[in-house]
């Protein structure tokens, strides 16, 4: 089980943020937009990762990773990380937006607008002047 520690942690991140989709985040329901946001960034960070691994800036503890490696000795866990974490970030952002929209909608329903008189007021003032 120890070898799956990194992957399990990434799975936990996705599991914790998944309910945001149900609160109206609408991220997984737009897979093309999600892919176009996440994949280019993941590509750039994978290049950074490969360079850092090659330069010995960081290493991965063989005890806590599967040992599966992509080209340039990048652990498969890193690809999962660079997809999962931005997905979690976008879900959080879209979730915050959805909750904000919902709160504003509820407030505008609760407080009836003084709509009929308001638009005419500037015109009346102009006439009086």
């Amino acid at each position: 089980m120890d070898h799956y520690q990194y992957l399990i942690l990434m799975g936990a991140c996705l599991a914790v943020t998944a309910p945001l989709e149900l609160f109206g985040a609408r991220v997984y329901r737009r897979p093309a937009r999600l892919a176009r946001a996440v994949l280019p960034v993941a590509g750039v960070f994978l290049i950074w990762d490969a360079l850092a691994i090659a330069g010995g800036v960081w290493t991965y503890n063989p005890r806590y990773v599967t040992g599966l490696r992509l080209p340039f000795r990048v652990p498969v866990e890193e690809l999962v990380f660079f997809v999962a974490i931005p997905v979690c970030g976008i879900l959080t952002y879209a979730g915050v937006q959805a909750l904000g929209d919902r709160w504003r909608a509820r407030r505008s329903r609760a407080v009836p607008r003084p709509a009929p008189t308001a638009p005419t007021a500037p015109a009346e003032r102009a006439i009086r002047r």
Binding site: N61, V65, C88
Partner: protein, 129 residues
């Protein structure tokens, strides 16, 4: 602290992401409250997740001491990780916003007024689906 193979790229990544938004994408993400709320939530979750990955007692990721400042806070998280995380999540959010804006105009109210064009930008005809 000699090579700075992590510190320097981490600072540059944050600068690059900010410059990308301010000079090219201009999504307005940094002016949106929902972005800063989401980033605060992301930060709150980064601490336990990153803390797990970097804990010195059983690290998943091990850093070469010569490549960074050596400042670790909170727990054993290298401070550079927060720059790295900021750049990763913000870059993905910028592309996410960029996609949404290309399709249906700017701003948080884009769903309620989908026909408003983005100011100062040509509308990409034929990309609207």
């Amino acid at each position: 602290m000699t090579g700075l193979g992590y510190t320097v790229p981490a600072v540059l990544a944050v600068a690059a992401v900010c410059a990308w938004e301010l000079a090219f994408l201009r999504t307005g993400l940094f002016r949106r409250a929902s972005y800063w709320v989401a980033m605060a939530i992301v930060l709150a979750f980064q601490i336990p997740v990153d803390g797990w990955l970097t804990k010195l007692s059983a690290p998943v990721v091990r850093y070469a001491p010569g490549q960074m400042t050596g400042l670790r806070f909170p727990w054993d998280i290298p401070v550079e990780d927060f720059l790295f995380g900021f750049a990763l999540v913000t870059a993905a959010l910028l592309l996410w916003e960029h996609q949404g804006r290309r399709r249906s105009g700017p701003g948080p109210g884009r769903r309620s007024r989908p026909d408003r064009p983005a100011p100062g930008r040509p509308q990409p005809e034929g990309e609207l689906r």
